[in-house]
Amino acid sequence: MSAVIESHDHEHHHGPAKGITRWFYTTNHKDIGTLYLWFSFAMFLIGGAMAMVIRAELFQPGMQIVEPEFYNQMLTLHGLIMVFGAVMPAFVGLANWLVPMMVGAPDMALPRMNNLSFWILPFAFTVLLSSLFMEGGAPNFGWTFYAPLSTTYAPPSVTFFIFSVHIMGASSIMGSINVIVTIMNMRAPGMTLMKMPLFVWSWLITAYLLIAVMPVLAGAVTMMLMDIHFGTSFFDAAGGGDPVLFQHIFWFFGHPEVYIMILPAFGITSHIIETFSRKQLFGHASMVWAMTSIAILSFVVWAHHMFTVGMPLAAELFFMWATMLIAVPTGVKVFNWVTTMFKGSITYETPMLFSIAFVVLFTIGGFSGLMLAITPADFQYHDTYFVVAHFHYVLVPGAIFSIMAAVYFWIPKWTGNMYDERLGKLHFWLSFIGVNVTFFPQHWIGLAGMPRRVPDYALQFADWNMVSSVGAFLFGASQILFLFIVIKTVMGGKKATPEVWEGARGLEWTVESPAPYHTFTTPPKVTQ
């Protein structure tokens, strides 16, 4: 979107506090955004290290490196940390940095709550990770923690896991309230809802999803807690309970949750593609409607994760059809991105490379998603590596590539320095090759019949597992390069102009680089 600033503010501002307390007490949206981003990076590396353990064990058939019980702990923590520790906090960090600047607000609406919602997160993950050192080990029932494996048959650390999930949920809900209140009340004059940048739109929808489903997750873990410690039988068939009920509740949370992890990526990709195509985004309004439809549909498709639990035919048909429908708005988004590039004037800086890879690889993940929606075929795909390939395609080159694209795109605005373009491109190509070598063969071994969540496998899957592991090591190692590039950019580099990019559109590009500690204390006026 294009905007003209009619009034700049020239007041004197206080800078950040000195010393470490700056980070503990800060209520500044930029500081909190930075905290969120570094936290998620740390979690990304920890969760990634666990993925390396998993791929190292799967490098060859047979048990070599870890025992099955530890393997299960790794796959559980890898999932939980990547979902709740890496992807979600990264998007909240981006929202903190960008939403106020994009809507022309001085800060988030509820700054103290903002501080709280971040600072409870490190405790949540300390509790979760400490379970590795407890008697009986860490949670070992998968990130989907199906009862009764996660209740009657769980290690004692499950109680700590429940507590940790509660804290994460509280953090997410507070963060979402903050985003919604900021967007609804603090937009600059003239910025109507339909003029709002797409990243802001995507986060508005995401925040509503979070508020709707995080309490459902909290309910599920609380019922588990009751079953484990207080003698209830919500999920225990022996006491008249229902293990399938758990799955319905979990996926009523879980399916919107997966869109929570991709909607902000849609926003980011839209900004980057229009910037480097030097052409206004095609179909701004239809993008908004597409995201809204995806969000609404996400509430009525949850049971496609459960096609094999033995639901009645009518339910299977309903969830199949509803799931297939999601392909329509998702297709609209992809077509809009491609049409934005059509007849543009394109250059290929690192953020653009990551965003183009996002569109292609996310679409591949969408295709396998469509295949998985076909219920009879899903009876063969379900719980195999085909599913692993599918959701890693939408989450790694999907969500995570979009986060990396966003970091390269906005880091000049955050630090005032340009990143090293040559290293950025190297990072892109290593990640791109790594991610495809890791996950593409997983489609094949899944179709050929390898179940997911197994520490060992039959011999016919050996070759492609080895290839997949090699890809994973390459992808893992290249993220060290990303860390190096980010640190290098924070330390120094070519100075960035306020616009940074030739085709940049949006209010955040009207303030200096680095963005002053306080921006838009007097709201800008937005005209078209």
Binding site: G62, S277, T339, F342, V359, D456, A458
Partner: protein, 384 residues
């Protein structure tokens, strides 16, 4: 002369091509694609899979084609002045409606196949499948045959001490035998956590859920041995509980049923026999290796705290009646000990108890008492 050479050259080329496409390529294809399977349903499912796959490929070629064309044709160098168009209602409507129609086209055969799969009428043979941590139990409801099916792959193979066999992790001690051409109905449930019974060649994957009975059916026309796996994370040994089904001609099936019944009769006889300590120890060692090592380990040390050590355990050394009770009823939920009363026969339970009381120098440190099959029969008698 020349002609002859050409013919032989042609022969060579064609045989090479045949070799390439028949054995090599198709073998490789099997390793990366879904199996077509051996039932009418599995073939339908395979066709659906290939149909949706090719639809995705065509859409992908078109969309990525336009995208790559734009990437090469509209670089800043080649097109310094970008167009300014940013919406077009007709185009946007078209790419909303066309995908919708493709989906409808896809949903019709998918819904039909699903309806066929959901035909829930009774089978000629009904087999109850029960998932346990980490083995399957099969009960033939009409013939009252009842057995457990355990992985037979040696721990040494798993831990890379000996070379891996052809059916590594896909072999069991007791396979499910079914006759060809009959409708087999599986009634699937679980004893502890959720498992999932998957047989790719029949396109059956059905969760085994405690407290529920799910059904699935198949008619297999081609005799053969088919291999599948548990596909729901069910704890430590989830990767080690395969499914093996053998489809045989009717007469072979009938004689298998007869044998199974005789076997059960023989076991009843053996229970009455007087067993020596050596006989029990020897049999117990086998039972232990099959049922107990996964948790309690070969050396009896277990994996505390969930799987306690048996070597040096006070109960195992000095309290035979408590040990019988634990084996028969299980201990839960803090410890993951299953109730083996329904899983093993009296002889095997007596043997494995005797084994554990005399292995790992437990006999030297404890009472070294033996437990006989008759003790277990006594235990099973109703207490007044």
């Amino acid at each position: 002369m020349f002609k002859k050479a050409t013919t032989s050259f042609n022969c060579k080329v064609s045989s090479l091509l045949i070799a390439l496409f028949s054995s090599q390529t198709f073998a490789a294809w099997d390793d990366i694609n879904m199996t077509e399977g051996v039932t009418a349903i599995s073939k339908e499912v395979f066709e659906l899979h290939m149909l949706i796959f090719w639809i995705c490929v065509v859409i992908g070629v078109i969309v990525f084609g336009v995208m790559f064309y734009s990437m090469f044709a509209y670089t800043k160098k080649k097109n310094p002045n970008p167009s300014t168009f940013h919406e077009n209602t007709k185009v946007e409507l078209a790419w909303t409606i066309v995908p919708f129609l493709i989906l409808v086209f896809m949903a019709i055969p998918a819904s039909n196949t699903l309806t066929t799969i959901y035909d829930d009428s009774a089978g000629d043979i009904n087999i109850q499948v029960v998932g346990y941590q980490w083995k399957w139990q099969y009960k033939y409801l009409e013939d009252e045959i009842d057995f457990f099916s355990n992985l037979t792959t040696d721990l040494d193979e798993i831990y890379n001490k000996t070379p891996k066999g052809e059916h590594y992790l896909e072999e069991v001690d007791e396979v499910v035998v079914i006759p060809v051409g009959k409708k087999i109905r599986f009634l699937i449930t679980a004893n502890d956590v959720i498992h999932s019974w998957w047989m790719p060649d029949f396109a059956i994957k059905q969760d085994a859920i405690p407290g529920f009975i799910n059904t699935a059916w198949t008619v297999v026309d081609k005799p053969g041995t088919y291999r599948g796996k548990c596909t729901e994370l069910c704890g430590k040994n989830h990767g080690f509980m395969p499914v093996v089904v053998k489809a045989v001609p009717q007469d072979e099936y009938d004689s298998w049923v007869k044998n199974k019944k005789e076997e059960a009769f023989k076991i009843a006889e053996l229970t009455e026999k007087d067993w020596t300590k050596e006989e029990l120890f020897e049999r117990g060692e086998e039972v232990y290796a099959k049922n107990c090592v996964a948790c309690h380990q070969t050396n009896g040390q277990g994996i505390p705290p969930i799987f306690p050590a048996l070597a040096g355990s006070d109960i195992v050394m000095n309290d035979a009646s408590r040990q019988i009770e634990i084996l028969m009823e299980g201990v839960g939920p803090t410890y993951a000990m299953q109730a083996f009363g329904k899983q093993l026969n009296e002889i095997d339970i007596a043997a494995v108890i005797t084994y554990s009381r005399n292995a790992w120098s437990n006999a030297e440190n404890g009472d070294g008492k033996i437990v006989t099959p008759k003790d277990i029969v006594d235990y099973k008698k109703p207490k007044v």
